[in-house]
Symmetry: C2
Subunit: 344 residues, 2 copies
């Protein structure tokens, strides 16, 4: 398996984006955020996405030059039109607005419509965390998930992410797994996936990767997962006036813009207590969880963020292993825009 350092692959991704006509300052933000996801071990939201972004860019289905625009700002609320710009640029802009508004008002709700894929939500929620705030980020996504008891994809994996000052970070799809986990199995030639991940195209549960790839994802825990996905849909697309549910495109589909909506909420912790006190309380809560005696068959209790921070420390030290299928796809994409791949 090719192994590459974070700075090296970031440079490579950046070059590819610039060659695909993304302005350099935006390419840099997108490359950094994608590689950050690989560092955390969340490969489904890392450089695996790049070939799809480049497909979109070369097909002229995304406008990397627009900065988007503020539709309105009032008190804690900001309404943003992404104008089909680069998702990472829109997210970065909206996070800056959210932090600014929450600093002034105590909290902020920034909702963007007509955006594009922004990578992993965790990267953006951590922008608020870096400002001593609680960051909550959600977005709707391509309709790959049937509502519970249905058999046609109408909802997305619609993730919920929250980052706080302290050792805890949640970033979860409201399906059993993120779509990228199935794409990853497909790209890398794994024939089977675990039960509970997906339905085939008839709405029957399946463990066959190819059938799942053409099928649909399962809502987390049944009807409650569908409820959470609708919550995300309402806070993102209904409120933003953007494309809802099956009106969305997707990065894997050509001939249609993505039209995703995103929500960035910030809460200024210092309105309730000093950030140091809040952080200490989060640490204490996390310790209560981690010192729980383990259930039969388990050796450790982990909290949200633990596996990713461990992986990050290791990959910063040893480099990022990229599965062969992903590496080949990346090099093929580089060749399309005449960028030379680094030797790994």
């Amino acid at each position: 398996m090719p192994v590459i350092s974070a700075p090296e692959i970031t440079r490579f991704v950046e070059q590819i984006l610039v060659a695909a006509e993304v302005p350099p300052h935006k390419a840099s933000i997108a490359a950094t955020s994608l590689v950050a996801s690989n560092l955390r071990g969340v490969d489904s939201h890392g450089i695996q996405l790049l070939p799809f972004y480049v497909d979109q860019l070369l097909a002229g289905e995304m406008d990397p030059r627009t900065d988007g625009r503020v539709i309105s700002e009032f008190g804690s609320c900001l309404h943003f039109d992404g104008q089909n710009g680069l998702g990472q640029w829109i997210a970065d802009t909206c996070c800056r607005h959210a932090v600014r508004i929450a600093s002034a008002q105590g909290m902020a709700m920034v909702v963007a419509r007509e955006s594009n894929h922004f990578g992993a939500a965790a990267w953006w929620a951590q922008k608020m965390r870096a400002a001593g705030q609680i960051g909550i980020v959600m977005c709707n996504a391509s309709p790959l998930v049937p509502p519970w008891q249905g058999k046609e994809g109408r909802l997305g994996t619609n993730p919920i992410c929250m980052s706080v000052p302290g050792p805890w970070l949640l970033d979860m799809a409201t399906t059993t797994v993120a779509a990228g986990r199935i794409f990853k199995a497909m790209i890398n030639g794994k024939p089977d996936i675990p039960p509970g991940w997906a339905f085939d195209s008839e709405g029957v549960p399946t463990t066959d990767t190819a059938r799942a790839y053409k099928g649909m994802l399962m809502p987390l825990g049944g009807y409650k997962g569908s409820g959470l996905a609708m919550m995300v849909e309402i806070l993102c697309s209904v409120l933003s006036g953007g494309a809802m549910a099956n009106e969305l495109g997707g990065i894997r589909f050509r001939g249609k813009t993505v039209r995703v909506s995103q929500m960035f909420m910030a809460i200024d912790v210092s309105r309730f207590m000093p950030v140091e006190e809040f952080t200490a309380r989060v640490e204490r809560l996390v310790k209560v969880m981690k010192t729980t005696p383990t259930a039969p068959g388990y050796e450790e209790v982990l909290v949200a963020g633990d596996p990713e921070w461990r992986r990050e420390a290791e990959r910063l030290r040893n480099g990022i292993p990229i599965e062969q299928g992903n590496w080949d796809a990346l090099c093929k994409t580089a060749a399309r825009v005449r960028v030379t791949a680094p030797v790994v």
Copy 2:
């Protein structure tokens, strides 16, 4: 099974609370909110709770006379100390603050510590809905749930509730089921519960009602349910400075105050679009879900709120059936405070 009309049982519950020294205006709010839950078919959060409340009141473990106090208010943020008052009174007060602040600022985050059980979150989130706002309500709860891979209860069922202008209402525990579902099976002598609901006290999955009653609830879908419960815990107790996780008491435990924390968030829809437009968009989204072809074995796609609204229409017409075990417990409680039960 006894059947009783909503006004009649509301009056009965109110009389019991007043006899247990709850001021009449607070007793009225609590009784109405509890019976509203029975009307919606959510019997686990209805009058079934009253005997526990009365136990608390008679043991002097809750102070029904205090109104609580505002610790601070700044911009969109309000910090409230419930001072161990009646949960429903604190919730009602906090909802009024949330609606007021969101009307002025666009959004509001009201966090209360040292509160008591407030019934079902849905009743409170609907206060924001009635004002043309999105209401999000969460609370922490007695530590009946082990963190994923643990075998000791350290987290609560920590519900997430969202109400919006439009035909959709989510109110879900972050466990497979709410604790009240197991209490209901126990109170009414049902020996078994479905798989996936609970662990025994050793952290082994069980379907035995008695073992589950003494055991722990399962987090929704495994580690993601634990992540959501922690999200709720952080937004409620960490941020409020209240009791966290296993520091909480519970309505079924004597000799300890409950010390629950609650969060009431309001978002003023009109900062983004007219409420009528938002409502029409929610209706359209719900229609997209309900017109999804059904999966094999199902006849209809429902969205969050559907089962409860149907049940409510029926129970408003035909009265509320109360299981014999629940009715007996209610009459026994009434007798303790010398209130005569109505004839049913």
